[in-house]
Symmetry: C2
Subunit: 121 residues, 2 copies
């Protein structure tokens, strides 16, 4: 969320890469350590903020909402707040977000495979 130096050559190249490389496009949206992990936890259906928090104990609250907001503004997740007190806020995947499930699933299967290999040694 910082201004981009428009004079930068690498920024021009990034724009170019974005136009032609599909993976670059993906990385601009979820290319960050936490986002796929968050999406993974959203994959099981709507989930409350506090539940995500507990599901990912290694993330700090600041970083968690920060990414949730970004995912929301990128149209990948949908926030729904019930006007009650204490607040009841759930997050779920949008249609685009659901489209990422093959990616997340592929990640999970790879991890499970690799872990199995490690254990054999």
């Amino acid at each position: 969320m910082t201004a981009i130096k428009e004079t930068s050559v690498i920024q021009e190249n990034k724009q170019y890469a974005l136009d032609i490389c599909p993976v670059t496009y993906v990385m601009e949206k979820i290319g960050n350590y936490w986002k796929p992990i968050i999406l993974y936890h959203l994959s099981k259906g709507p989930i409350r903020y506090s539940e995500i928090k507990r599901a990912i104990p290694a993330i700090t609250e600041k970083v968690l909402i920060q990414h949730l907001k970004q995912l929301e503004s990128d149209g990948l997740v949908i926030r729904k707040a019930k006007p009650v007190v204490p607040p009841y806020v759930t997050y779920k995947l949008s249609k685009s977000g659901k489209g990422l499930m093959p990616v997340i699933d592929a990640m999970a299967s790879w991890a499970i495979n690799e872990r199995a290999k490690e254990d054999k040694q």
Copy 2:
């Protein structure tokens, strides 16, 4: 490549997360902006260092070799150097690396779909 503060609570939590969350495991290996992009370009078969460089103009050389070395030491890519001059070095996916192709492919398809949606508007 820096020492980890072992007293940190979040590091403990990260270890815990690694044990149970498969996506976290993946992110520890390729959870970085450039790695999936590099792997994408390696997916078409063995490729020379300079070809990768040209294929990803937005990356700096420093960052590129840095990641190639890391991917190599993580057993995801294999480096092969012909002892000629000028040097002839190729990189290709290892078996584990190839196992990531479903992830990369899923990313690419998603991106292509999303771009198509954007264009319609």
